[in-house]
Amino acid sequence: MKPAINTGEHFITGDVACAEGAIAAGCRFFGGYPITPATEITEHLSARLPGVGGTFIQMEDEIAAIASVLGASWTGVKSMTATSGPGFSLMMENIGLGICTETPCVVVNVQRVGPSTGLPTQAAQGDMMQARWGSHGDYEIIVLSPSSPQEIFYQTITAFNMSETYRLPVLILADEIVGHMSEKVIIPDAKHIKTVSRSRPKGRKDRFKLYEPGPNGVAPMPAIGEGYNIHVTGLTHDTKGYPAMTVDTQKEMMARLTGKIQNNLKDIIKTESYRLDDAEIAIISYGISARTSLSAVDKARRQGIKAGLLRLITIWPFPEDQILKLAEKVKGFVTVEMNLGQIHLEVKRCAGGRAPAFLVGHPGGTIISPDTVVKVLQEAF
């Protein structure tokens, strides 16, 4: 068998880089369904997985795709699916099952323009709130957003590592531009790639409790066939995994599901600052829009406007503390995103009135130019 990791320098699309990142992370099951602009992830893995001992299947729809991924994950195999808006909508129900049953997996959404069928071949960042709240009920979720093919390669590995660490579906919210653009992607040696696998239960099987949290708030996870006689349900369940229809059990379960994320924010939240130290205006952006924001900062600086950029790598959980700290320092915020203000409103919420927040956004279909951002910086401040 050839080595699984394609070490070397490549000129590939973000979608292919994502697929290669999955292989490098140890993903060995992919259940998918074709949809623009995520199809190339599915295609690439159909060719790559059987050669590395993995399994690929194109399911009958996105509901089945995510269901198969959850099932595969419980056999102990790292599993993934990839989709875009309409498919993402269909996956919401079983993303909820994944959260409730604490099933590690990765779901990639290469965003296109919505609502509905929208502009299938053009980029948007309109699913940020759906990623946060799209499945019913309360929950915490981890969402990452890549700005380049190189970054989506690494982020896919991070997504797997986080999903294995915290036992939940981790979402990657890319966009059509990052998915379809070709750039240089360096894939390092296997020994330079850090991968994490879920912790496994130890001790007596007859005393085993499926959801008894370990030191980081996450329960070790057995695989089907190991003799633990596990019962897994999407009903509200106790630490044994048994359904228990009481208010107290619900409270306890929710504390577990949300606590494991909220108590590890430092490990989960990743941002990147650019010329932010002396900035008077903080641009908040992510994904492809962060790249236009980066050149907007340089352009603005040349005109004497003291702008800086906070690039969100983790979108959810939201970097509330970072925004609050900035709010005490800067004259204002400008959020740059290809939607009508989904993250902008979050920034506003976290700033809590300490600094005004403005939006550079549009309903999707085209990239936001740096000049548009600079113009807003000039006019607003």
Binding site: A64, A67, G71, W74, V77, S79, H231
Partner: protein
Amino acid sequence: MAKKTPKHPLDDLIRKDRIPHIWCPGCGIGTIFSSCLTAIKESGIDLKKFVMISGIGCSGRAAGYVNLDSFHTTHGRAIPFATGVKLANPELNVIVFSGDGDLFAIGGNHFIHAARRNVDITVICVNNFNYGMTGGQVAATTPNMAKTTTTPFGNPETPFNLPLMAYAAGATYVARWTMLHSRDLTESISEAILKNGFSFIEALSPCPINYGRRNKLKPLDQLKLYQEKTIIKNDAKPTELDINFEKGVVLGKFVDIERPTYGDSYNKICRPDKLE
């Protein structure tokens, strides 16, 4: 000294700490469930290598009572979940145990595709002609003109012939029994477990609380129908399997053929070097 309670031969396969179960008196699910457990036990296969997957509904609760690795998934999605389990670990014996509403209305699309692909799983469908869990609404299996809470004037629709659908979609094993024919049912489930391919068993079952009550079918009358108005006819033509108790309902094993499974074909076509 406390009295020793006698041990039932299937006790090991039950999560006793989950009893009492939720099924109503007179319900047929429990009988079908114990046929399934008997077949599992008699197979002689290592119990660790079994997994039971259910969807949502009264029958979907089976996964919560079986003392095996078991999953109570989302409504209609037991089959694609099971597909992922089986493909990621082909060593496992995967049994989907669920109801007609779950498997054939909301989950109907998944059923036909798993049968077409010939995923090596066993699907047991408790068919009680309605949605019991939610209080007795019309299902894709409700007989024409039957009364349910959402067909108060009688059902204007035509029900599915499930074995015909399984056959047409490509299932390699298809059988139908009633809960009264528990020995035949157990035998069929045993065969289905050992079958290398997609197996489907329809098990007719009374739901006295929701279906029977609205259609003047007392629990005992329904069992009488199962006894008097059924005809065992192995290899009957799938097109002749519509359910009509006036004419008589055909039971038996209708399909038992060999065809490469998805897993076998995938290995052969996508990783031929691994096979050498």
